[in-house]
């Protein structure tokens, strides 16, 4: 099986004033293409930092990171932006939709920054996939929390990314909506995308193929779910 993500000895140190915060310490992580991975751990354990490094939003202080076999540490900022646009879809806890912008406008956002053929019909396709076809022209403030997160997922899907990264995507939702969102991620995963989600909740993590646990910037557990 192909290793879509291969990390060795990844560390991240934040310098705040004269104190250093070690957010990640010597992390090794390998993710296989098509995997559904959950990342768990207490608050401040380095989950988001790890996800930002995986998603090329941040650079590690030390260590090697191969994305689809390619060393990304030497790439410049615009190449990283291009890879984020083409290969990675982000979903955040706070949805981060553009205010006063329609569902369609929000979903089309990544297409401003990268080439995509038939972007409009592709947008309708992913909006359909997240079940919001009847809300295409609603503005984001006319939507419920669950609907907003669906829009964010459609936005993450539009460029056909290989990897979906979700940082506590259900953190702001009630359990019913959370399950709907998780079902959506499972569906996306079943179509071939590699999905990595950060979560606090065991029952959410239970949907993944594998769960890793972080504590103080280190991976303390790495367990496959036996189906």
């Amino acid at each position: 099986m192909e290793h879509i993500i291969e990390m060795k000895g990844i560390s991240k140190v934040y310098k705040t004033g004269d104190e250093d915060t070690v957010a990640l310490q010597d992390v090794d992580l390998t993710v296989t293409r098509g995997e559904f991975l959950a990342i768990m751990g207490p608050s401040g354990s380095g989950k988001s930092t790890l996800m930002h490094i995986i998603g090329l939003l941040d650079r590690p202080t030390a260590g090697q990171y191969l994305l689809e076999g390619r060393d990304v540490s030497r790439l410049n900022d615009s190449s990283l932006a291009r890879l984020r646009n083409q290969k990675i879809g982000f979903v955040f806890q706070q949805f981060n939709l553009l205010p006063r912008t329609t569902v369609l406008g929000n979903v089309l956002l990544p297409t401003i920054y990268g080439r995509l053929k038939n972007s409009r019909s592709r947008a309708f396709e992913v909006i359909e996939e997240v079940g919001l076809s009847d809300r295409v022209n609603h503005t984001s403030n006319q939507l419920s929390g669950g609907q907003m997160q669906r829009v964010a997922i459609a936005r993450a899907l539009i460029m056909n990314p290989d990897i979906i990264l979700a940082d506590e995507p259900t953190g702001n939702l009630d359990s019913k909506r959370s399950l709907e969102i998780i079902d959506l991620f499972k569906k996306i995963n079943s179509r071939g995308a590699t999905v990595i989600i950060i979560t606090h909740e065991e029952h959410i993590a239970r949907n993944a193929n594998r769960t890793i646990r972080l504590l103080d910037g280190k991976i303390v557990a790495n367990a496959e779910r036996i189906a």
Binding site: D77, F92, Y113
Partner: protein, 415 residues
Amino acid sequence: MRYWLLINQSLKAIFVNKVRSLLTVLGIVIGIASIISLVSLGEGVKVSISDRILALGASNLTVVPGAVAGARTLDPTKAPSQTRGFTLSTSSLTEKDVQSLADRKRHPHIKYISGEITGSTIVKTDRGDKRFPVLGVSPDYFAINNLTIERGRSLDQSHVDEGANVLVLGNQLAADLYGNRDPIGATLNIEGTEYEVIGVFKPAEESGLANPNIQAYIPYTSAMETFNSLNFNFIYIQATDESVVPSLKQDIRKTLLKNHQIQNSSLADFTVISSGDILSAVDSITDILTSMLTGIAAISLLVGGIGIMNIMLVSVSERTREIGLRKAVGARTVDILNQFLIEAVLLTLTGGILGIALGFMIARASESYLGFTPIVTFNTILLAVGASTMVGLVFGVYPAVKASRLNPIDALRYE
């Protein structure tokens, strides 16, 4: 990059927040409106003055006493002084000057020539005292100024030779003095001398800077007596053709310098002016005025630009998370920079377009007050569009750079 999506979004944002956008760009609107109206007024003034000067005739020349530029009058008694009733008792232009210029053999390119002694008088009318200009001239004066007789007859050479006390009235002056009565044969007392009205001119187009319709005309020989003046205030000349004007100008200078026994031409006590000279002088004056006023209007643009910078900085901090998100979905630093520059320019450009419309309306509205038509040229509009774009770029750069440098992670965490 598909920036039209960005432009579309920015335009929507501008129109959704109509009031806020309008307040933001008010400085730009006022600045651009002032520039448009001032420049178009300037152009209008220029054209209207040019029209009047060209109405004088492109082949006309005027000799005025004294040196106009760099005047160094050594003898104070020769300084042009404007005294009683506009007569220049010490003017350097003599009857001999006119006679030597009128010599057709020496100056074959002079078609018409007339001196002018400029005086004025006050007469009693039914509607109270009235002051009007009285010009002592030769018959050629009327040919140069396109004055033709409506009633009675004009001055002729014999009136000049005899120093006859006869007078021809401009059309408006005749109406002002006599109303519906026939002025022919009436007598007018000009500064103590009785003159007989022998004719009235047709209404003439206002040309130059004087209105020929409100003046009275007498033989210059009579004016010398009446106004106690030996010299002319002006000498008017019409060349046979426009093309000979520059060389004729030199000939006139030579003759007059010789008459006045001046060797060094820089010490000339007279100046020969052609219509072209006046035109370029007027042009440069209106240009200076226009650019001064435009400079003042530019200050309003500057203030407007600071307003734009302020609102863009607010916008950057309000939209920190949006910037982080855009970077997460693939925006490069330069894309964010461009986005905020585009937004700033769209704002100022919107202000500019409103300003152009407002300036146009101001120019139009002032037309009826000013008596001439302000001219909005394509270049003026181009200037306004260019200026508002520049303001957007210049004052948008700092906020845009600030936005583009945001670290996406900090931006996404930002509360």
